[in-house]
Structure formats: C-alpha cells, structure tokens
C-alpha cells in the first residue's frame, strides 16, 4: 500500500468540512456536516474548518460561522465560479497540501462523491463513502466511520490508521442542523493556489435543473398506494408541511396519477428517509424493500391485517382520507 502524501506525524489536527452551495446559499448537507463537526471538534478540542470554493461567495462565510465553523478557508477564483471536477480537485488538492487536515468531510451528493473520489486518489489516501455515523477516538484521534448498507444486514465501522487526511462522504439528511451557541473566532483565510484555464476540460454552458426528482435524498417521504385513489394533492399538502417529498407504490404510477420517478420499491427507488408515512398501502414485499432503510415508518390503512403494519413503527387503522386531512389541519395549527 502506498503511503499518503502526508501522514499522522505531519497532520494538523482539525475537522474540515467542504461546503457545497447553490443559488447563493449553502446546501443542507453542508450545514449538517458543520453541526456534527462542531460536536466532534468540541470533544477533541480541535478547530472546525469550513472550505468554501467559488467566485464572490464571501457572504456565505457568515452562514458557516452560524453553524459552528471556527475558520473558513475561502478559495475564490473566476474559474471556480461553477463546479468543475478538474478545477475544484486541483484547488483543494493544493490547499490540503498546505493545510494537512487530519479529518475531511464532504457531502455524499453527486458533486461531493465525484470530488471526494478524485481527491482521495490524488492524495493517496482512503475514502469512507456514504457514512451514516461519525466518531473520533479521543485517545488516538482516529476517525471511526459508520457505514451501513447491503439491505441493513451489515453495519461496518471503518478506521483509517495511517493515511491522511481521513476522508469521508456523509449521507445527506442523517445529521440534524444546529446553529451554534458559542462565539467562534470567525477567521477567514484566503489560501494561495494556482489554476489555469487549460486545467479545466469541462465546458460550462448552462445549468438546467430537470424535473427529475431524486427521492433517495429526501428526509421525509409521504407515500401513497392504491388506497388513496390517486389523491396525491392531499399527500402533497402533507408533504409540504413536513418539508418532504411524495412517493408512490406501483398501482398509482400505473394508473398515471403520478410520475414513475416517484415509484418506491424493488423496481423503483430504494430510499432511506428519517420518516415515512405510508398512506393506503397494503405492504407488498416489492414495495416494502424500498422503505426498509427508513428510520421511522408510520402506516395508515383501514385493514388491520395489512402486511404494511408488520413493517411500521406506528400503525394507524383507519380511513386514510379522513386521517390525512386531520393531520394536515393539526400541523397547520401547530405551524
């Protein structure tokens, strides 16, 4: 095994979080990582460092401080205005060789995964992908990442003993966002790095957001089955109040009530939300496979023998068309 460019002796003990931003604000996963990073940093007595790349993005530093960063390393350059894998990899690589962080977190997003893989190879270190839990051994400073998966059958704890930085991509929606109560030092550091137009092969033309929905990252999922008779407006109202997405079993998709991208299950999307509310879903096996990784499942069905109740944490026996509107009303009064 090749050794990394710097090792345990040369590392600077700090927790680094790579910040992703879009349309002038930081992505939720970045704030989640800062919040969790703050907890770990306090335990270890290390600084929490945010890494922000872009062009004219200094105003975002404030948010990073609010969510707990002690320092922001701000790399601004015209060529970093839009995310390109070549430009961002090159800049961060140079920054890491200067700063030698011991721990680095990136969001397990499309860009984050792309970037983390390249950086890990370039730095000759390892990468713990799609982590759902993070700890640091107080004695050794070794990061312990929890990686779950393979149908929930395996939970792996992964440590990187000698390679640095200890890199991890963190699954969005796993950690909660918390603004900090302490008053961090709020330092902005502008590192030096070079980047030339010919380093970047990706030609940025236009950013278009498709209609495509990606349910895999949603934290709240409101799923409807045959029992809602195509009334996804009702579910959408509930989803909006809970900041969630709507999904469906196969029959409503077949009947054209909802687009196929929102089909949950073996031949649809397998998702891992923190909360799923299953409305009028009987619980066929090929659907259940799609929500097994959910933290909390609430099922509403009028048939007390519906198999969905075997997979639910909270079982509500009753007519979904009566219960959901009441739930919506209750949430509205609370909000």
């Amino acid at each position: 095994m090749a050794s990394s460019f710097y090792g345990v002796e040369d590392q600077v003990q700090a927790i680094w979080v790579y910040l992703e931003h879009r349309d002038g604000s930081l992505e939720n996963v970045s704030l989640e990582m800062l919040s969790e990073g703050r907890v770990l940093a306090d335990q270890m007595g290390w600084p929490l460092v945010a890494l922000l790349l872009g062009h004219s993005v200094e105003n975002l530093c404030q948010d990073a401080f609010i969510y707990g960063a002690d320092q922001v390393w701000l790399a601004e350059h015209k060529l970093l205005e839009n995310f390109t894998i070549e430009g961002y990899t090159s800049a961060i690589y140079q920054i890491f060789l200067q700063s030698k962080p011991s721990v680095v977190f990136l969001g397990a997003t499309h860009d984050g995964r792309d970037l983390a893989g390249r950086l890990a190879v370039r730095l000759r270190t390892g990468l713990n992908a799609d982590c759902t839990g993070l700890r640091i051994d107080p004695d050794t400073g070794v990061l312990i990442c929890e990686v779950s998966g393979f149908g929930g059958g395996v939970l792996a704890l992964i440590e990187m003993q000698t390679h640095r930085p200890q890199m991890a991509t963190v699954r969005p929606g796993v950690f909660s966002m918390r603004q900090t109560t302490s008053t961090p030092s709020k330092t902005i550091i502008r590192p030096t790095f070079t980047i030339e137009p010919e380093d970047i092969y990706t030609k940025y033309i236009e950013r278009i957001e498709g209609d495509y929905v990606d349910l895999t990252g949603s934290t709240v999922l409101i799923a409807g089955g045959r029992g809602i008779d195509g009334d996804f407006q009702m579910l959408d109202a509930l989803a909006q109040l809970l900041n969630g997405e709507i999904g469906a079993t196969r029959p409503p998709v077949d009947d054209g009530y909802i687009e196929r991208e929102r089909q949950i299950g073996q031949t649809g999307v397998v998702c891992s939300p923190r909360l799923t509310i299953c409305c009028g879903i009987s619980g066929a096996f090929h659907f259940v496979v799609g929500i097994e990784k959910a933290d909390t499942v609430i099922a509403i069905n009028k048939d007390p023998k519906a198999p969905i109740f075997d997979h639910a944490d909270y079982c509500i026996v009753g007519d979904v068309k009566q219960i959901v509107p009441k739930l919506i009303d209750a949430l509205k009064t609370k909000v």
Binding site: G153, V154, R226, T267, F285
Partner: protein, 398 residues
Amino acid sequence: MTRQTKEETTIENEQPQPAIIIDDDVWEQLIDLTDGAAALCYQCGTCTAACPWGQFTNLDLSVRTFLRQAQIGVFQASEALWLCTTCAQCQPLCPRGVNIVDVFRAIRTLAWQNRTVAEGLPSILWSLYWNDNPWSQPPSQRSAWAGDIAIPQFNAQEHEILLYVGCTSSYDSRAQQIALALVQILRAAGIQFGYLGNLEPCCGEAVLNLGNRPYFEEIRAKTAAVFTQHGVTDLVVISPHCYDVFKNHYNTISKTIQVQHYTQFLTQLLEEGRLRFSRSINKQVTYQDPCYLGRHNAEYAAARTIIDHLPGVEFREMSRNREDGLCCGGGGGRMWLETPAGERFADHRVKEALETKAQILATACPFCAVCLEDSAKNLGQTELEIMDIAELARLGIE
C-alpha cells in the same frame, strides 16, 4: 481553439461506420457458452412469432435477430436483450430444436463483460454477494418466516428430505404463505423433514438467467458444498426456478441428489397413500403452468394430479395450457425489472383465467403467485383468488 479545429478535421475525415461488426472472439465465445446452439437455426422466425412480447405487447423482442447475431459473432448492446423472461415459449415450436434460452443467457454473459447490462441489475448481484439472496434482505432474517412453527434443522440421519425454501419464499411476505402451507401439508402427511434455516444458500437462479455465468459457477460451487456437507440426498424445493437450476445446471450434485419440485413430492405421497385429502373444497379451479416446471422440465402432470385428488374441485383448463401456457412475466430476471402497465403478461393470464369462470387461479411458483396476484389487484379483480398449489392443497387436509 486548436483543440476544436482538430476535432472538426477528424469528423470530416471519418469513415462511415459499418452497420455491424463481426467479431471472431464473440463468435467463439458464444459457441463455447452455448455448445453451438445457435448454429442449428435456419432463421425461420417462428421464435419471434411465438414470443409473448410480440403477441401481447407493444415492446419488440426479435428472437430471430439475436439468434442470427449469435450465429455470425455479433454483439450489440440492446435493451431488448433483457426483455426475455426465459419462458421458452419459443422452444417447443422451433423446428430445429435450438436451445434458445441458452443463447440468450450467453448473449447476456457478453453484456456483463461489455458492461451494458440493464440498469439495476448489478445491485441484484451485489445483494447476492453480500446477503446471499437477490432481495437485498439481511441473511439473519432468512428463517424469520418460520418463527413460530419450529422447523428442525436438517439432519441427514433423521430426515427423509431437505426442504429447500428458496430466497423468495423466505423473504417475500406473499410467497412466505406458500412455504407455511407446504410445511403444514408435510406435517399432516407425517414426513420427517428439516431445513437449513439461516444457513440455506441461494441456488443462483437469478444470476444464471441474467447471464453472469462466472458468478453463477461460483455460487453453484458454494451451494453444492453446503448440500454435500449436510449429507443431502433428497431435496424438495418450492420454486420451479430453484428446481430447474438444481436439476439441470448443478452438474456436480445432480447425480447424487434427487431433486423434486414439491408438487412432484406431494404427488408421490398421494400415490403412496401417505397423503390424503379429506375436506371438500367445492370450487372451480384453473391452473397456470410455471415455465420452469412445464416447458423447461416437462412436468405438467404433478400439479394436475394434486388438483385431481382434491375433493369437490372442478378443474377447468385455460385455453392456453401446458406447452402453450403463458408466462407470468417474472422469469429471466424480470422480477427485478419494471414492465410498463398494459405490457405485463400476468394481466393477460388473469384475463384468460377469468374466461374459464374459475374462482381460483392456482399456480406452483412464487414468482407466478406474486405477479398474478398483483395483476388481479391491478385489474380490480376481487373474485378471482390466486393460490399456490400448496395453499390449495392445505384446504384439503383436516
């Protein structure tokens, strides 16, 4: 700018692409994988005409084209390749006796090598790798379905047969009912049997029919070793898919282990007088021939014998039966791929069953049961009950 100019020049000088590329290596590999099965084909096209995709849906599967490509050594990535349910509807009609399913498996093997498999299929193989089942379910939960009924771990000295449950009947809540029913029947007949519980390995059917031949061989070696280690001599399986794999694709154990589908075993028990049905059912029943019991293994009689023995059952054949029986659409890896609404074989099969005016559509395969029940629900059919033969037979015992 220089880069752009270069590209433009290349495009101008580019030769027109050939329509097909004949590759000797592909040809040799296909010969090797299929024992030259496609060579016999004289391109009459009966296979394409017989294929249910062409007969019942708007999706095209030109079976003949794939056979031609296999004959001359052409591999082209294609979505249609993954449509084949390996139902073998084409085979009994082929005037040259080509093993067409084998040819499709072989072309799929090439697709794995070329990394052009349908989306979602690699994760099935990963599930097998990590969980020893294609359903992404935890191996520790494999025997959870049998939680309350205390089936003993198989012991070659004490047990007449090893009951092989299979992945689908272990995990799918619908298919679990089939396993539970069969256990009750075996107990009523006083059969000494055991199972392997959480240690039960996967037969590898999904991998074989999705065409990842090297990985299938790995699974086969591992699973055969488990059977040998437990001293298994008589295996009774629930799924016709597992049955076919053990019977026809496990060359290492097929000589030492007698493999029976449970309908065959129950028929044997009926003939020996060890199993008797005493309760009258009083229903009209029709029967769906599972492809891997019927066309692949010519077993049409066993399930019908059981139905015949059930008091009060009036049996009605569907117009398409035995060799002509229509596939449910779940074979060949299609259980893990989406089929658009309106293009599902099972929808047609349910309609054919309704034409017989039967109250029960019986089958003897977990995939059939799941697909048919889904279609019956989708069509809003509440009168037609989908039952596995095991569930039906259970009604006949006290």
